[in-house]
């Protein structure tokens, strides 16, 4: 009886935490995008759009007309839903607000990576489906970047899991909480560097990709979603913004997990939410500063950066192995 009440209250706690983090990331993702645009504008001496502008754009897009290319198949209208669904699923199982989200035992890095990959694959297929040159070009570029960034991501998280003894993300965070002296170890710092490069590649920020360009020479992600308009564009934008929020929050939580809720109490959930928001904002500010200070890399210099990220993650693994 006690056990079932306890397990019921635990699952209520898990459900509440998951719901809260879904809402937070759904609303906060576009806000983070707006924040980064504001920081870049200020750094360039402009006033820039208000931080809530992406949310306003989403609301505006939902009222507009749907438009499909003449030769598009069923992939084009389905892809935005897949993108959004994969992002929502990934957010739902990740340990952002608490270390026990719903289905948290399956929150392995491979699951989350493959969920995100499903979204990227859907976007790439949609780019091809419209039958335009820009779409195909954007898809191939995006897949190249993804192919180079995935190994770095996996190996970097392996480096973290060597030290923690588990590749379960909540497990990594719990063990880091128990050993504060690990934070400044060389293995962690190298993995942080590698993951930063991967996050910038996956979210399509400068120096990998410019999110506000529409020039053929430079666009990668924008080319894939060029054919979308109206509600479908809103779904895609929301999915991408949630993905950005997820990656930033994971980056922060893996390395600085303090503040995450570990006990099933309401106070810890509130605290967890607040700290998550704070950490995500800090990461977004950091990435925005990197964007301000660097120029977009030429396309054939991208493999250098991503290979560098891969080497950093291998270094993190080897350093982790020798310092065990």
């Amino acid at each position: 009886m006690m056990a079932t009440t306890a397990s019921v209250s635990v699952s209520v706690y898990e459900g509440a935490a998951t719901l809260i983090q879904l809402v937070l990331v759904a609303l906060g993702g576009p806000l983070l995008v707006g924040l980064m645009a504001k920081v870049k504008a200020r750094a360039e001496g402009r006033v820039g759009a208000p931080i809530v502008q992406p949310l306003r754009d989403l609301r505006k897009l939902l009222t507009k007309e749907r438009l499909h290319a003449r030769h598009a198949s069923v992939v084009l209208p389905l892809a935005p839903m897949v993108i959004l669904a994969s992002s929502v699923m990934a957010v739902a199982i990740s340990p952002l607000v608490s270390t026990h989200p719903l289905l948290g035992s399956s929150a392995d890095i491979l699951v989350i990576v493959y969920l995100l990959l499903t979204g990227s694959a859907a976007a790439a297929l949609a780019g091809l489906d419209a039958g335009t040159a820009f779409g195909g070009m954007g898809s191939s570029r995006a897949m190249t970047i993804g192919a180079l960034a995935e190994p770095a991501l996996l190996v970097a998280v392996i480096a973290l899991s060597i030290q923690s003894g588990t590749s379960n993300l909540p497990g990594i965070m719990v063990s880091t909480l128990a050993h504060p002296d690990w934070v400044l170890g060389p293995s962690r710092l190298l993995a942080l560097g590698a993951l930063l490069i991967v996050v910038i590649a996956e979210t399509g920020r400068i120096p990998v990709d410019n999110p506000s360009t529409h020039l053929e020479l430079t666009m990668v992600h924008e080319a894939m979603i060029l054919e979308y308009a109206g509600p479908e564009l809103a779904l895609v934008s929301l999915g991408e913004a949630m993905r950005l929020g997820l990656l930033f929050s994971l980056l922060a939580n893996l390395f600085v997990p303090w503040g995450i809720a570990t006990h099933p109490t309401a106070a810890s959930i509130v605290l967890g939410t607040a700290f998550l928001a704070l950490k995500a904002v800090l990461v977004a500010l950091g990435v925005a500063l990197i964007e301000v200070r660097s120029a977009k890399l030429r396309l054939f210099r991208l493999p250098e950066l991503l290979a560098g990220g891969f080497v950093l993650s291998v270094l993190a693994v080897v350093t982790g192995l020798v310092t065990r």
């Binding site: 493999p303 250098e304 991503l306 291998v314 270094l315 080897v318 020798v322 065990r324």
Partner: protein
Amino acid sequence: MNATYISALELAAGAVLLSAVMTLWRRSVRSIVSMLSLQGISLSAVAIVLALHEHEHALLVTGCLVFVVKGLVVPALLRRVSRLDPRSRESRPLVNVPASLVFAAVLIVLAYVVGTRITALSATSATHLAPLGLATVLVGYFMLVTRRRAVSKIVGLILVDNGIALVTFLLTSGVPLIVELGSSLDVLLVVVVLQFLMVSMRHHSDTDRLTEMKALHD
């Protein structure tokens, strides 16, 4: 105290290998030389941390010597040398940069595999870090073989020397002082010799053609 000793040692040893990988990554000679300077300073930090922990004065002297020679003098000499060469960017390596980075990752894993067989003999926290030194040696050797510019070859040679010095410090807390003196002086002299050769060659003819080493053959 022990924990801070271990983390300081790990950080310094990791910095040595990281700066080696960064020299493979960066193209402009100025940033490569700064990485070398960082490597020299981290190497001396390893020696000094070990010396303070084991109360060995000879090793402390060695650490200060390494700081001066490999952290300050050698990078300064290299900067002077690279100013003589107007084209200061490595533009045509034999293996392009992304491929070299992936190859470097393979070499690092190889060094780890080989290194653990050696460190099985004596399992202290210092000897466990020896594979990092071996990895630096392999990365330096790779750079020596695959880069065309004279300065890049010199940098590769210095990386090999630094890696071996790191392994020496970690495995044996330094060899007898006279040998260490000889070794440091040797690195300095090799760089001086190479600089002298580059100056002489430059007065004579096209340096690149000579350092590509293709004219003399059978």
